[in-house]
Structures are given as C-alpha cells and as structure tokens.
Amino acid sequence: EPEVTQTPSHQVTQMGQEVILRCVPISNHLYFYWYRQILGQKVEFLVSFYNNEISEKSEIFDDQFSVERPDGSNFTLKIRSTKLEDSAMYFCASSETAGSPLHFGNGTRLTVT
C-alpha cells in the first residue's frame, strides 16, 4: 500500500538554526499538509498546500515557517530560526482530493536545544 514517507525520523538542532523537514507524499495525491504534535497533546494543523501554493495556514505557521514543493515528489517544511517551543513531532499528510481522507507519515521528531 502506498504511504507517505518522512525524513529524517529524528532531528536535533540548536536554537536559532534552520531546519528542513522532508516528505514524499503519495504519488497521485494533490493536497498536502503539515501538522505538528507536541508531546502528549493533540495533533495541530499548520498548513495546507495545493496547486503549488498555500491554501490555508494556522496561527502557528508564522513567518519563520515556509513550505515548498521543489519537484514532483517532495514536499518540505522549513523553520528558519528554530525556538525551543518548536520541539514537537511534525507530520506530513496528503490526500487525493479535498474531500478524501488524509494519509499521514510517521513523522519527524524535532528537538530544539
């Protein structure tokens, strides 16, 4: 069964550094998402992306965050200058249509020290 893959599985970075989290969505999917989950809390929406542009973003997704689909297969989340509170699991998801279920990757655990 096709799946969403994310790399790396764990990223440790120092406060103020830039990180790029990578995702390969399911190949025939057109809608892409990033969510995050702080330890022990619920999954929070960050951003949705369709047709090479952001469809919607949350309050969390401030100017430090950006997304990009640099080629036909990858979908990346960049955090420009990481803060301690950015430490969380970051999940990429994709869906075939706007109305179909989201399929999630296994996440990248980001630790900011």
């Binding site: 619920k42 919607e56 999630f104 990757g105 996440g107």
Partner: protein
C-alpha cells in the same frame, strides 16, 4: 471556531469486550469526520470516516456513529484485541478542508 474534544483521556477494556470512544464537536458546519489510530512512534492511521449526511457507518470490527443533534461522534470497536491498544483521535473537517483533531483517548486492552 472549530473545536473537537474527547470525553475521556483513557479507556481500559478487557480483551474480547467492545470499546466505545466518544467525541464531541462544536462546529455544526463540519461535514466530514474521521477516526484515526495512533500507535507509539507512528503517525495517525486512518480507521473510518463518515460524512454528515450519514448517522452510521460500519467497517471491519469498527462502527462510527454520528449524532448531529448533539454534535457527538463515537467509535465502537467490537471484540477488542491487544493490537487495538493505541491513542484514538477524532477529527472534523472545517470549511476549507483542514482537519481539526480532538485531544485523543488512550485505549488500553487488558489480556
């Protein structure tokens, strides 16, 4: 705005019993709901979904019930197995397409 919340943070059941996990939502405009299962160290895994024009949908060992009058959603797992132990999230779709997740219920199955 949308909020989706769960009644209980933990649920412990005996293997073989049925499990019922509940969820309340506040946005009456939500038209689509999904239940996800999250095992330790993994991403949310799709279990079953239901559209707002339905009140019940069945899958393999799982049933989702939707009561739009009281804005309540439940997930029923029949003959619960140890492999069902996980955190279960409900999620509702807002206009615009994004999913809003509830807090999660941790299901623990005792052998």
């Amino acid at each position: 705005g949308e909020s989706v919340g769960l009644h209980l943070p933990t649920l412990s059941v005996q293997e073989g019993d049925n499990s019922i996990i509940n969820c309340a939502y506040s946005n009456s405009a939500s038209d689509y709901f999904i239940w996800y299962k999250q095992e330790s160290g993994k991403g949310p895994q799709f279990i079953i979904d239901i559209r707002s024009n339905m009140d019940k949908r069945q899958g393999q060992r799982v049933t989702v019930l939707l009561n739009k009058t009281v804005k309540h959603l439940s997930l029923q797992i029949a003959a619960t197995q140890p492999g069902d132990s996980a955190v279960y999230f409900c999620a509702g779709r807002e206009q615009g397409g994004k999913l809003i997740f509830g807090q999660g219920t941790e299901l623990s199955v005792k052998p």
